[in-house]
């Protein structure tokens, strides 16, 4: 088994951070500078029906959750010394991430 050094996690955080930055530019442009002046429910539904936008939002959601919660896990690693508390924190992080992913998944796939 490979030694757990933190290098892969560090690299993935940088990679996901760069991708999130690129995707967020698209997201902001789309939400604030493009499309109709007054966005209606029907406009959102139309966009979500496009498989490309569905994929975009799913990738965005996955990257943000992975990046954010891995960051929280790193903070736990910095400040929590007790192994049992670390395990508890990991369980809470996984539950929270899975819960938020489910909500996002339902939102994107409903349309």
């Amino acid at each position: 088994m490979a030694r757990q050094t933190g290098s892969i996690g560090w690299f993935l955080q940088r990679l996901s951070g760069g991708l999130i930055f690129a995707l967020i530019l698209v997201h902001f442009s789309l939400m604030h500078y493009m499309g109709p002046e007054k966005r209606l429910y029907a406009d959102v539904v139309r966009r979500f029906q496009n498989p490309l936008w569905k994929s975009f939002d799913l990738v965005f959601l996955t990257l943000c959750l992975c990046h954010g919660w891995y960051g929280v896990w790193e903070i736990v690693g910095d400040y929590v010394r007790s192994d049992s508390l670390k395990i508890l924190a990991l369980i809470l992080i996984v539950i929270a991430a899975a819960g938020l992913f489910s909500i996002g998944l339902v939102t994107v796939l409903t349309f």
């Binding site: 933190g6 290098s7 892969i8 690299f11 910095d78």
Partner: protein, 238 residues
């Protein structure tokens, strides 16, 4: 006298566990002349006001790193910092943060030195040594130039919040030392040393706070060295 700067108040951290488990601050008024350093003032206090004051000093030339302390909230060398460079008439002096206290401004740097020793701060040679000195190209020397100038004062490691909470973390000084040898073209212990720093308590514990760069009295850049080590360690992992 024309070269006098006037009267300064020195508020100095005092702690002597043999007499009182609680720490306190003592204040001393010192007449400061132009060109006097913090160390000169401390010597004056110890020599004529309170002989029980403890602090480390040796070379008085900003080379040995012994007199590193926290002056007005910033880690610096007492022998290097002139009083005239500080604002205000009250100067607060604390021991270096993050290390266990021994007495007054003297801290226990055992852990710091253990971390330095852990990264093998010596040139590793496996091939036979030549009869003359090992030469290197100027460009190779430039690569490690700033790292060579570290005087091991401990200011950087002491300013690192990661070290405050995780004393197992190697810290910027040890990592800078590792960088100095890993990137030395004459060294042959690169993989061994990289294996030491490529650890959860090695380079990956650094959060790029930049306190180390700010604290270094020799204006070195441990943070840049750590970034270089991270890239090397990553190349080794993938």
């Amino acid at each position: 006298m024309a070269d006098t700067l006037g009267l300064y108040t020195f508020k100095i951290f005092r702690y002597n566990p043999d007499k009182d488990p609680k720490s306190r601050y003592d204040t001393f008024a010192v007449e400061v002349r132009q060109g006097m350093t913090i160390l000169d003032c401390l010597q004056k206090i110890k020599g004529s006001l309170d002989g029980t004051l403890s602090f480390r000093r040796s070379c008085r030339s900003a080379i040995c790193g012994s007199c590193a302390m926290n002056i007005n909230g910033k880690n610096d060398l007492a022998c290097h910092l002139q009083v005239s460079r500080l604002r205000g008439r009250t100067i607060t002096i604390n021991p270096l943060p993050g290390y266990p206290l021994i007495k007054d401004l003297v801290v226990d740097m055992g852990e710091f030195y253990r971390h330095i020793a852990a990264v093998m701060p010596w040139l590793v040679r496996r091939s036979p040594c030549p009869d003359r000195e090992l030469l290197q190209f100027p460009a190779d020397r430039d690569r490690i130039d700033s790292a060579v100038n570290c005087i091991l004062c401990g200011s950087c490691t002491s300013s690192c919040p990661q070290f405050w909470f995780n004393p197992r973390y190697l810290g910027p000084a040890a990592l800078l030392k590792a960088y100095r040898f890993i990137f030395d073209s004459r060294d042959e212990g690169r993989d061994e040393r990289l294996a030491i720093v490529d650890d959860r308590y090695g380079v990956w514990r650094c959060r790029t706070v930049f306190n180390c760069d700010e604290a270094c009295p020799k204006k070195l850049h441990p943070n840049e060295a750590i970034a270089g080590l991270k890239i090397e360690a990553l190349k080794r992992s993938v």
